[in-house]
Amino acid sequence: MDPKIVAFCCNWCSYAGADLAGVSRMQYPPNVRIIKVMCSGRVEPSFILRAFEVGIDGVLITGCHIGDCHYVSGNLRAEDRVKMAKELMKTLGLEEQRLRLEWISASEGEKFASVIKEFVEDLKSVGPNPLGKGEASCP
């Protein structure tokens, strides 16, 4: 089973980290689809649920290390929202490991690659998204 992951990467640190993983040719499985946002603070709980709704198996949010945020406090807000989203998932019966928040700086290419590999393995053990692939029709 090939788990599908969507990753929201902040433009300043983690997107650059993903770039560095590429520049250094660090191989990782092709399960992730990266969506660039200006800051991890931009990611709403609704995006996370919408992803699970359409059948995505895992959502990864990556941002700058605390204190490094280009917009001073965006990553702190992301932390609160991920906490809230996990509570929702718990009640929904969706396994908590399907949502991950990672701080990745622009020089941590290796970390980006290893997070993806780890996440794919986790999702394989957790199994596919119970809501099924792509059936849900939603606005």
């Binding site: 650059a16 560095l20 520049v23 250094s24 204190g67 490094d68 622009a106 020089s107 941590e108 290796e110």
Partner: protein, 429 residues
């Protein structure tokens, strides 16, 4: 009267001065000797006191500077002659051949892997890794263009075959251009002092005695060991590191001045070592702990309390080596307990002095400016005009003006930009 400006030196100071000048609409020529801009800051892993990753905060500035329509970046080039005076300088610049067409090359790196002769020391990685005859200066180089080391290249042609863009031209000629500028800003930075002259510390004799810049490359994620601190002798991670301060600094026989940044970068490097390897023991041998900048003293206090870095007030007399384990052994007089002690560690990092960059004398002669006795640029009025060299219209900023850290270099770079704009305005008015 011309109001273009020449900036010499593409480190963080040169880049910042160019961005500020271009930001106010002036035309800037940035000349950098190395094939890529970025300077020494690009070689650092993290910066104190925030622990920011150095290239993360430098790369956006490098890109902004390189792609700015008002800035012409001339890499692998040197200033050969300057005539005229403030408001009307004629500058001869020698663009040394890269043997690669900058327009065509996309920095894809196929040629680099195609070159069979990978046996030359990689300058950027402090010779901790070898490179081929055709190479990219470093991963995040700007411009991201390869360069041929023509001296060693045997013209086997492998790279030319593989390069679809046809960018490699092994018979490229050096090119001399002349530009006409109103003011010149010098930001040629520094070199790291070679401590092999201090025989008692064994640099070059003992494998596990390295310099701070080499340490930075070892722990850098894009460095030769991918960020793993493998000590040179057995490629293993040491369990203890000793940082030795004032190696070649505050030393009448080498450099009498204090290089101002070593106490702090040693603290940062010790904290980093502790973060990556929690069981690591860190020692810093100092004479005067100089943490005078913003947030510095608090950073040192955290190093002492949170990261258990042990500060020893002593300048070691000698370093020997345990023959089997290749562990450096430090002999020192612990001035606080007044006992001569012996400390065996896994790795010694010499925090060497930072000295004016090679060729500063020739550059000063070309510019017609004077150097002071430490070979930094001579400042006529150090208090009220700290950035004016001894010649009108030529400003200096960054480490070549005197020992300082990155924020002070950036501040002086912006200051030099303002002074240049002021000089041009006054001449033009």
């Amino acid at each position: 009267m011309v109001d273009d400006v020449l900036v010499i030196g593409g480190g963080v100071a040169g880049i910042q001065a160019s961005i500020d000048l271009a930001g106010r609409g002036l035309k800037v020529y940035l000349v950098e000797r190395f094939p890529s801009i970025g300077g020494k800051m690009a070689q650092l892993d993290k910066t104190f006191p925030t622990g920011d990753c150095s290239i993360c905060i430098l790369a956006p500035k490098m890109m902004e500077c390189f792609s700015h329509e008002n800035i012409d970046v001339l890499t692998h080039a040197e200033v050969k002659g300057v005539s005229g005076n403030a408001g009307d300088f004629r500058v001869k610049i020698l663009k040394k051949p890269r043997y690669v067409d900058e327009e065509k090359c996309t920095g894809c790196g196929d040629c680099v892997s195609a070159c069979p002769y990978i046996n030359l020391p990689d300058e950027f990685d402090m010779a901790l890794r070898s490179r081929g005859n055709i190479f990219i200066p470093f991963l995040q180089a700007v411009p991201r263009v390869v360069m041929v080391d023509r001296e060693h290249c045997v013209k086997c042609g492998n790279c030319q075959v593989i390069c679809d863009a046809g960018a490699i031209d092994l018979y490229q000629k050096p090119e001399e251009i002349e530009i006409h500028v109103g003011a010149i800003i010098v930001a040629c930075g520094f070199d790291s002092f070679d401590p092999s002259g201090i025989k008692e510390y064994g640099y070059g004799r003992y494998k596990n005695v390295i310099t701070a810049l080499e340490y930075e490359r070892l722990v850098c994620a894009s460095g030769p060991t991918g960020g793993h601190l493998d000590r040179p002798s057995d490629k293993k991670t040491p369990n203890s590191i000793a940082f030795i301060q004032c190696v070649g600094s505050r030393d009448v026989n080498h450099n009498p001045y204090c290089s101002s940044v070593c106490c702090m970068h040693a603290t940062k490097e010790a904290i980093l070592a502790k973060e990556h390897y929690p069981s690591m023991e860190n020692y810093i041998f100092y004479t005067d702990m100089r943490a005078f900048g913003k947030g510095f003293q608090e950073y040192v206090d955290r190093a002492k309390n949170e990261y258990e870095v042990r500060y020893i007030r002593s300048k070691p007399g000698e370093i020997t080596e345990d023959k089997e384990t290749k562990n450096p052994v430090i002999w020192y007089d612990d001035t606080v307990t007044r006992q001569v002690k012996r400390l065996e560690v896994g790795l010694v990092v010499l925090c060497t002095a930072l000295v004016p960059s090679k060729g500063i004398k020739e550059l000063a002669d070309v510019l017609g400016v004077e150097l002071d006795k430490n070979r930094f640029f001579k400042i006529a009025d150090p208090l009220y005009a700290p950035l004016d060299s001894s010649r009108e219209g030529i400003l200096v900023c960054g480490y070549c003006q005197g020992p300082k850290d990155i924020p002070e270099a950036v501040t002086q770079a912006k200051g030099a930009a303002a002074r240049a704009a002021e000089v041009l305005a006054c001449l033009g008015a």
